[in-house]
Amino acid sequence: MAQNKQIKVYVFLTAVFMVLGIIMIFIPDKEVEKEVSPHVVIKIYNHGNAYYTTDQVAKLIMDGNPILQLVDVRSEEEFSKFSLKNAINIPLEELIDKDKKGNYVWRDYLKPEKKITVFYSNGDMTAAKAWTLATRLRFENIFILDGGLNNWIETIIKPVEPQATTATPEDYNVYQFRKAASMYFGGATANVAPTSVKSTVKKTVVKKKKDVEEEGGC
């Protein structure tokens, strides 16, 4: 007797879930949030992969690596005075311009697959402003040039000799690299082929920054 009472209940349950299932069909996926929430923007920054150092960018340029996409966020006038090789100029004011259809003009232009976009300005404050807005609007793979052009000059163009006392072999390697880079960017007559420079930048540059597997999985 209890047996078919149980079956009746199971039939009832099956019916309930069939109805739920049919309702599910009509529930669409919610459109992806237009903006990245503030908490997540801070989390992305805090994970430490918002910056590219001048060494890494110099290496990418010297290798002629197509993955790099330099964006100068300063005004047009400053851009025409000086800019890094193959950089394009998107003044901060124009960064989030929209076309007629309401899409962000630069979001897709900067986002051909597998590109690394590095914003730079004189320091890294304006670049950080651009980075924050762009991250909020779901731009992809965007970074800040650490220290901006001022730092570029101080590290790449006029590298400082590490003092003998405190320097580790690592510092010397980096210094060698920077001296060669300085010649490369300084356009010295003796065209030092960059390939002969053994890359001493310890983090392999080409691998996209987010190679450390986020803590996840079990």
Binding site: V32, K43, F82, N89, L92, Y109, A128, E140, I153, G216
Partner: protein
């Protein structure tokens, strides 16, 4: 033949119990108003606000505040605790940037009595925190274009607020000239001012990087 089962049958009262339980949760969820941080300024407002560098405090103003020990201001240091411990501006509060939006610090940052000055290991760090707070309508937030180290060396130790890196965004060098001096370079300024406006429609793009989480 009565099948030997070692588990209890599913009775209707179980079903009703579950439904009631779900209703309670439903009521709870409906009455719960989300007060997670969300944007008050839309992107263009945020851009306009940050372009004319509203809320930017100059080194001289900072020096004045420190010397006068002006209690109207409170300094928030965004660096990691280990940096804060080995040196920090006297009287400053340490809120690492990763936790700036956490609920614990809401009363510290979003209040009327004191004006908060955000400062970090570099100006980019403080401006990002500043934008996030300003965009959420936090009141009385200021930001600076220099770092804690600058304050320690150029204001606290000796009074020289306008020497050194007081505005990280200032062009410290005449780039073109400096480079040409180091070797007669060709100034690379092929500007690719692209006006390519043919933009593919925005695809639904999943965030590529793996988030923290898992089992």
């Amino acid at each position: 033949m009565e099948e030997r089962k070692d588990y209890a049958p599913f009775e209707m009262k179980h079903f009703y119990g579950v439904v009631v339980f779900l209703l309670i949760i439903l009521i709870g969820m409906l009455s719960y108003n989300s007060n997670a941080p969300h944007y008050v300024k839309n992107p263009s407002e945020s851009l306009v606000h940050i372009i004319d560098s509203a809320g930017l405090l100059h080194a001289t103003q900072m020096a004045e505040i420190l010397y006068l020990e002006d209690s109207l201001y409170q300094i928030v240091d965004l660096r990691k605790p280990k940096f804060f411990l080995n040196n920090h501006i006297e009287g400053s509060i340490n809120i690492p940037i990763g936790r700036i939006l956490d609920k614990e610090f809401l009363h510290v940052l979003n209040q009327e009595e004191k004006i908060t000055i955000l400062i970090g290991s570099r100006s980019s760090e403080s401006v990002i925190a500043y934008m996030m707070l300003a965009d959420e309508g936090y009141a009385n937030i200021r930001v600076v274009a220099f770092s804690v180290d600058f304050v320690m060396s150029n204001i606290v130790e000796k009074y020289a607020p306008l020497s050194g890196r007081y505005d990280e965004e200032r062009t410290v060098y005449d780039y073109a000239r400096v480079i040409s001096e180091t070797g007669g370079s060709t100034i690379s300024s092929e500007t690719v001012k692209s006006n390519a406006k043919k933009i593919a429609p925005v695809k639904k793009k999943k965030k590529a990087e793996e988030e923290e989480g898992g089992c």
